[in-house]
């Protein structure tokens, strides 16, 4: 098991290294130029100043040299400064990471519970009206654009009925207690849940139906196991193996969902941070934001592999 984890860790590290180069190159291709931005904010610069600044920041060097020196400082956790916030990238990234962690974590729990309940119900009542209703709901969830759903929820709950705040993270000047923050979480969590529950409901249903057809289920029934025991003891565990893997693999997609949700509800998480950094030419912040997101995704994939191997004794770990 340990050597399996070690080899997967090494693989993830290689992917991360490759991605860091890809992202570094892409960021360099974004519109604008850090020196131009400095020059624009201070018209007193002469052409010599510009050349000197370019040399000082190493921007006159070829791409590989620049990447190498960036990598060297990144290796000692020096990620540079954010242009728009004038603070070290760290200081801005960590709170955003926590914010997104809360949003994604909460939504994950809610939509997993919902998807499992609906998926198992649908599988057990296959082809009934209930099954069809759940199927329709799941399809609707998959087909609804996340930003449109967010907009609908904002319109109904905030604009029309005024039950909940439309955007932000807490009431400005308010007490900032738990209930206050929770209010601001309801709509974003609802949005992400609706966006992801559909896919996993269908996945759970399909997996459960397949398992229920297996010989060992028939054997368990024939030996007189009650229906609840058959479903929860014999079927569920096996049906969950592919579901768990797909859930863990969905982390990258969840980050994408979080990006839209946070942008719509003005929550300062990783997604909105990356989006604003890309749009605002904040190169260091965009670079590190993307790398953090990639790292988090790679780690969750690693966990998926381990969970898969652990849940399914038939998989050999070599």
């Amino acid at each position: 098991m340990l050597s399996f984890i070690a080899s997967r860790l090494l693989q993830s590290a290689i992917v991360l290294l490759v991605m860091s180069f890809v992202i570094y190159t892409l960021i360099g291709l974004m519109p604008g130029d850090p020196i131009d931005i400095m020059v624009n904010s201070n018209p007193g610069y002469t052409a010599q100043d510009v050349a000197r600044l370019r040399a000082q920041y190493g921007l006159d060097q070829p791409l590989l040299t620049r990447y190498w020196s960036w990598l060297q400082s990144a290796a000692v956790l020096d990620f540079g400064y954010s242009r728009t916030y004038s603070q070290p990238v760290w200081v801005i990234l960590v709170p955003a990471l926590i914010q997104t962690g809360k949003l994604v974590g909460l939504s994950f729990v809610v939509f997993t519970a919902l998807a499992m309940t609906m998926g198992i119900t649908a599988a057990l009542t296959k082809d009934s009206i209930l099954d069809r209703g759940i199927n329709l709901l799941a399809f609707a969830g998959i087909s609804l654009p996340v930003f449109f759903l967010a907009l609908l929820l904002i319109y109904l709950f905030a604009v029309r009925w005024g039950y909940l705040p439309a955007s932000g993270m807490f009431t400005i000047g308010g007490s900032g207690d738990l209930i206050d923050t929770a209010k601001y979480f309801v709509l974003p969590v609802l949005t992400l849940t609706a966006a992801f529950a559909g896919r996993f409901t269908r996945f759970t249903r399909a997996s459960m139906i397949e398992v229920l057809r297996m010989d060992y289920i028939r054997t368990a029934r024939a030996k007189g196991a009650g229906p609840l025991r058959v479903v929860f003891k014999h079927a569920l565990r096996n049906a969950m193996i592919p579901v768990v893997t797909v859930l863990a693999l969905s982390f990258g997609g969840l980050l994408g969902g979080a990006l839209i949700t946070e942008t719509m509800f003005a929550q300062r998480g990783m997604g909105k941070l990356i989006f604003d950094a890309v749009m605002g030419n904040d190169f260091n912040l965009a670079l590190m934001g993307l790398l953090f997101a990639t790292t988090a995704t790679l780690l969750s994939n690693l966990m998926a592999d381990i969970a898969y191997a652990w849940l399914d004794p038939r998989i050999s770990l070599s």
Binding site: A140, I142, F251
Partner: protein, 317 residues
């Protein structure tokens, strides 16, 4: 007990004519039995006609999609503007029709390009095995696992001039359109690649392929004549399921201001204008959002139906 659908005339006729029903006829018959998928197909044809008839609508109604009328903003539906006007006094109906063209074209073209890339990679991986296969499949798995939307945003923001394209080209709406298709193909090929590889692997051990190889047929000949035609059904199913994803992706990028650029209307960028005006004119957000929704759900139902029709044993996922 499963309900037995009565054999349609065509099937009876083919038996009477002593001509066996081809596999495509069988699939078509199965698809016809799926009411939801058939309704979705009809709805999609209507949506395509709706989008295609945009110039006709402009002619008949005497409106122009880009014609702004600041004295007539947020107009209610009338005989002159069937769905009223938007925040700049433009005809809402015409904009929705032109927006539909973009969404459907990007959906189809994006899915087609993604399928080409995916098929090529899947065929190569399945045929050459060994190192090539493991490298290609590692890349595929790697792409699947990445946080795609954040990365796509960077791709969409890239300054094409820095890649050596001329400023005129970079600013043209054609460049804008093809950039979106390219970005989409870049991430959506993975499903097709995996399916085609699996299919190629199983075909490689079939007698007709072994016979062709024994006769010394070239890789190119085997892949194009023996393998590719037999991978058609997984490709079609994956394509149909990808179209919905792609329409959603295009609308998301356009909504974020990184996709189709105004004044060219797309359902996504129409919503991004409407977001600011949600309390004043919610219908401006409702129309494009609803159209995206019914288009994508119809595509998904049709894709699901195709999957069942092509492979009735597999439970859809």
């Amino acid at each position: 007990m499963t309900k037995q659908t009565p054999l349609p005339k065509s099937a009876v006729a083919s038996v009477l004519a002593d001509k066996p029903e081809s596999v495509w006829e069988l699939r078509w018959r199965r698809l016809q039995g799926n009411r939801v998928a058939m309704c979705s197909g009809v709805l999609l044809i209507f949506l395509a006609l709706f989008a295609a008839s945009a110039p006709v609508y402009e002619q008949v109604m005497g409106v122009d999609v880009n014609n702004t009328d600041l004295l007539n903003r947020f107009a209610a539906p009338s005989l002159q503007h069937l769905l009223g006007t938007d925040e700049a006094g433009r005809d809402m109906m015409a904009r929705l029709m032109y927006g539909g063209r973009i969404s459907l074209l990007v959906g189809l073209l994006g899915a087609f390009s993604a399928a080409m890339v995916g098929t090529l990679i899947g065929l190569l991986a399945g045929y050459y095995r060994g190192r090539t296969e493991s490298l290609l499949m590692r890349i595929t798995d790697g792409v699947i696992a990445l946080p795609l939307l954040p990365l796509l945003i960077v791709f969409a923001a890239i300054d094409l001039q820095k890649l050596g394209f001329s400023p005129e080209f970079v600013r043209s709406s054609a460049a804008n359109f093809y950039r979106i298709v390219f970005i989409i193909a870049l991430v959506e090929w993975t499903t097709v690649a995996r399916l085609v590889r699996a299919c190629t692997l199983s075909l490689m051990s079939r007698e007709f392929v072994l016979a062709a190889r024994a006769q010394g047929a070239s890789a190119r000949h085997i892949l194009s004549v023996h393998i590719l035609p037999n991978t058609a059904s997984p490709i079609i199913v994956a394509l149909s399921l990808a179209v919905g994803q792609i329409i959603l992706l295009e609308s998301t990028l356009s909504f974020l201001g990184l996709g189709i650029q105004p004044p060219t209307p797309s359902w996504g960028n129409m919503l991004s204008n409407a977001q600011e005006l949600i309390s004043r004119a919610p219908e401006l957000a409702f129309y494009p959002g609803f159209l995206i929704f019914i288009t994508v759900i119809a595509v998904n139902f049709l894709g699901d139906g195709l999957q069942d029709a092509f492979d009735p044993r597999a439970e859809s996922t």
